[in-house]
Symmetry: D2
Subunit: 359 residues, 4 copies
Amino acid sequence: MVERGGTTMPARDVRVALLGYGYWGPNLARNLHLRLGVEWAACVDPDPARLAEVAHRYPWVRTCRDAEEVLADGAIDALVIASPARTHADLAARALRAGKHVLVEKPLALSTADAVALAEQADASGLVLMVGHTFEYNPAVAKMRALLRSGDLGELYYLHSQRVNLGRIQRDINALWSIGPHDVSIANHLVGAAPRWVAARGARYLHTDVEDVVFATLGYDDGVLAHLHVSWLDPSKLRRTTVVGSRRMVVFDDLDSEAKLRVYDKGADPVGVGEFGEYQFRLRAGDLHVPRTDLTEPLALELDHFLECVATGARPRTDGWNGVRVVATLEAAQQSLDKGGQQVAVPADWDRDGDGAAA
Amino acid sequence: MVERGGTTMPARDVRVALLGYGYWGPNLARNLHLRLGVEWAACVDPDPARLAEVAHRYPWVRTCRDAEEVLADGAIDALVIASPARTHADLAARALRAGKHVLVEKPLALSTADAVALAEQADASGLVLMVGHTFEYNPAVAKMRALLRSGDLGELYYLHSQRVNLGRIQRDINALWSIGPHDVSIANHLVGAAPRWVAARGARYLHTDVEDVVFATLGYDDGVLAHLHVSWLDPSKLRRTTVVGSRRMVVFDDLDSEAKLRVYDKGADPVGVGEFGEYQFRLRAGDLHVPRTDLTEPLALELDHFLECVATGARPRTDGWNGVRVVATLEAAQQSLDKGGQQVAVPADWDRDGDGAAA
Amino acid sequence: MVERGGTTMPARDVRVALLGYGYWGPNLARNLHLRLGVEWAACVDPDPARLAEVAHRYPWVRTCRDAEEVLADGAIDALVIASPARTHADLAARALRAGKHVLVEKPLALSTADAVALAEQADASGLVLMVGHTFEYNPAVAKMRALLRSGDLGELYYLHSQRVNLGRIQRDINALWSIGPHDVSIANHLVGAAPRWVAARGARYLHTDVEDVVFATLGYDDGVLAHLHVSWLDPSKLRRTTVVGSRRMVVFDDLDSEAKLRVYDKGADPVGVGEFGEYQFRLRAGDLHVPRTDLTEPLALELDHFLECVATGARPRTDGWNGVRVVATLEAAQQSLDKGGQQVAVPADWDRDGDGAAA
Amino acid sequence: MVERGGTTMPARDVRVALLGYGYWGPNLARNLHLRLGVEWAACVDPDPARLAEVAHRYPWVRTCRDAEEVLADGAIDALVIASPARTHADLAARALRAGKHVLVEKPLALSTADAVALAEQADASGLVLMVGHTFEYNPAVAKMRALLRSGDLGELYYLHSQRVNLGRIQRDINALWSIGPHDVSIANHLVGAAPRWVAARGARYLHTDVEDVVFATLGYDDGVLAHLHVSWLDPSKLRRTTVVGSRRMVVFDDLDSEAKLRVYDKGADPVGVGEFGEYQFRLRAGDLHVPRTDLTEPLALELDHFLECVATGARPRTDGWNGVRVVATLEAAQQSLDKGGQQVAVPADWDRDGDGAAA
């Protein structure tokens, strides 16, 4: 519980406003505070009680109930948007229009069309638009990706993840849109592309129109599958992603403080050809390796990246098009949910620039 | 590693032959030995090396390569069939025809038609036909079922399971038929019926025609879902079933020696009605309880049950019709796999007697 | 990582200064900030770099390098002392002399004589002197104590603890004085008294005059033993206390987020008398129960208690005499270390008031 | 639960009798059966019920109540002694006198004098005398020892172990003699010698004359310490040994099926000299490595070694003198227990041949 002693100063001062001090906002606030000090200048929330909390904790921060106030403030360079998901697209568009750099929490939007419009708007404006896909800044995920890219894992077969817990039941978006962006973002990031198709099934127990639990399968090129299980109605807190390659297999357990990443030297190696011409396999189960990973809070790394992009004009790793790929995947999954699990294609024609991150 | 001191003697002597001393056979042999001593009379396997191993370990056991020899032996009362899955139906039918009681490893058959025929044949013969659905003899599963039946868990919402590992890659059946019977049997047993429909997706990596990993969703009455994840190409050994009820939630982790069963006093309780007429919920996270469960090896309990049924003429809890319900579920899952994940109905017209076990 | 939304306001405003912003100070600062806002008025540290860090994070806090400045400031009501252990006694004495209430980190002093002098000084002054024995504010420890007091655990047999890790190697105090105060404080708190004697052995690997690892046995009345293992040279982070009673046994694992406290219905029950007149025992291994415990950070509860005592004049639960009992135990352990493990009595004549905490 | 398929045949047939079919005997029986088949010829136990159990399980084995019967049987080559500890020395001496090779369970004897006499008797007789220190045949322990010998761990600092559980409460020997031989044997094996001194403290709760829990410190040459905690009155089953070296640290957790051995690239590295001439240290926490270890049951490896020694005349790795070193350590620990924890020297003059195992 000891906090990091050092303070990272951005290349030049950036004055930031935070929009939304609800569930996730306080985490952003804490990190903005540590990074920016008094340059974290303003906070917007419609709830006076939340603003009073901000005023108590961060007495120098200007609090206001209306986003318009900070959008109109020429002294504010950038907005961090942590408002409810349904407001992301509109707030981000208005912020870009007002000439502000934007870091928006996931999902970037609730429709692919909105997400594409935002990505195009950002490209046209020359402003930074970054999506808060925190796990793409997680050192353990970066290590997994590096193991894949280097060929250490061999050929990628499939991955599966469980992100379940009892908690944060939502009313206006289902578990897919609430929890799923993390897993879709991780899967896309590891594979280096959006999936070609999605199939999803879920179930509604608490409300008649909101899925509490969703199982989704994402089909990528070359037969690579990703399977997601998200739920806010589960007894155990699990945050686990397993990546199965032909040479090695990796488990990323975000809750395991000693062994966040387990790299298994395991596999089924072809050893010959059977009497009917098929391959025969021998199991290999060697050592288990737990590479040390940087324990810096990924959210801190994400904010550092955003501030650096703002300062230098660089394109963020999780830019608008990255956000589009996640939203398009979720939208296809939602359509599959609505059609009882039928396989739905993920459109790709918006992806004119390819996956910069995968390059 | 200390073995059970006591020996359970069956009500009357039953002379048994074991068919198949391959992967699972040695476990049956060990238990037959402890239960029956020299009344475990014969063992059949086509492989002389396996028979030599039997002769070494159990010098009193008659070994033979052809099942016909024990089928024709009037001194043999019962057969335990642990041969490859594709041979189950034929061997069981021949055994019943020869007037032997039969315990057959799961799956009972590879088609519903074969399974129904066997169940009918057993009913007509008056002989015991029991399927080796071991988990239905597992004290932890029995405890879960009791918690459900008593209402302690509240309304059943859904369950999900993972049974994955690196190992026992098969050539003639896929992971669904190899590993899935356990989870289908557990789910059917807990719900008390077969599902109405199944949808399954999988992937083939090692061979072009055998799924190494399968994800399946089983739809039961009243919106109850069961989701299975089976794989023989996974780094971690997991054998975990989670049952989510409205009042309590249970995790059964067969590999956790201290806490096989975790009963969570957790849930989302309705606390009122919101402005749009929908229920509102409050999270409840109370104590966690680990009921003590009998640690007797489930296979030993299963064999005891079989021997008792043979001795008393009672119908086994996992009778032929129970086996039919599992096979019909797997068959529908296979059809769904073949149709790219499309939802497939599980036929129910063979189920003339209802689920005796659920009564 | 979501922070507590609510802010606890003390009964009346108390202006506080923090002395020491080194290893532990930032945790106190974070909590002072949340509790007091701008009433956390000043911070003292000899290191300008640390003060710059404070100024960045908490811009309203007055920073100064000399404690004298805040001691002389009539507007400061209370001091929180988190300076190096060797300075505790002197700073606390000066603070009381200056009329300030004092919360001092453990250990209260490095000698029993100093600790007694402080406790007497506080009693004479009417000011609050509280020692930061955090674990006595830990809800899980409180629950263990309640289980003991209620008789649920039966007769207390013994307890043992491991508090080991690689880290925070110190130069001026050994592992006993650095880590041991936690375990001594927990043991005294559970038993309700100081031990009668102590024996300790340790070893020095990094420096020739500082023990990196210490094993200590504390002998309480009625044959109750507590065994401590502390080390800053160990691969695994362990923070575990086991309490063995005649009826039940408890494990407190501070690092287990799901099951911090495990209450085992286990024991060896007398079942008769053997042929030589001795008792015979039957093992009992029943359910395991994990009571829900409040997850509030113990340090927050500790600070709340201090602020309330300051506001109301109440005697803190971990008052100076409580601190004396811990220091006297550590001093005896140190003497035992110096004498090669010989048993050393813990003096008790200073304990004129009995164990207030145990009442 | 799948048993090993293969059967190891000893170099030449050895006919073996087992003495004692109580707590541990069945494990030896199971392995004798797998290794020797019908060459496991006889079993002795005074309890007719235990003999009946043997007759049921192993119908070819001759059962008898008196050891004299097998001692006098010229067709028996070797005895495996698993009788109560107090009978070990006498039975082993009689067996050697009768010209039999002997594998005796630990402890070899209850006094150093008896142990030395046995070792000398074996040396004089030319017969194999081996002590069942199972952990010296455990592949994970062998790996730890190899890491130490190769210098991978750097300089050995200390080791500590916990072997606690609720269970196997004994009446005629305390927890030190019942459980401690394992840890003493492991420690001696890793260090490569017996300790110079021992200090032990314990407590008696169930009986007035038998320690249920013992804490012991073993002092080896070069300041190496080993600390043992053994108890049969503890809620958690722990079997854990931690070895701390200057370069790496290892945890051996015998109950962790996936990571029995964890090798931590951790340490405190000297980085310079401080202002007072003392070393300064920097913490290093690198990767964690879990080397694959052979999962063969150590008892099987132990028996194989015994049978091979009998067949070839080789001196077993855990010969009589190895047993002497363990007994001498335990005897010193017992004397320390009796003297209230006082440090007691371990005599070394019997060790005329040096530590063959350490060579």
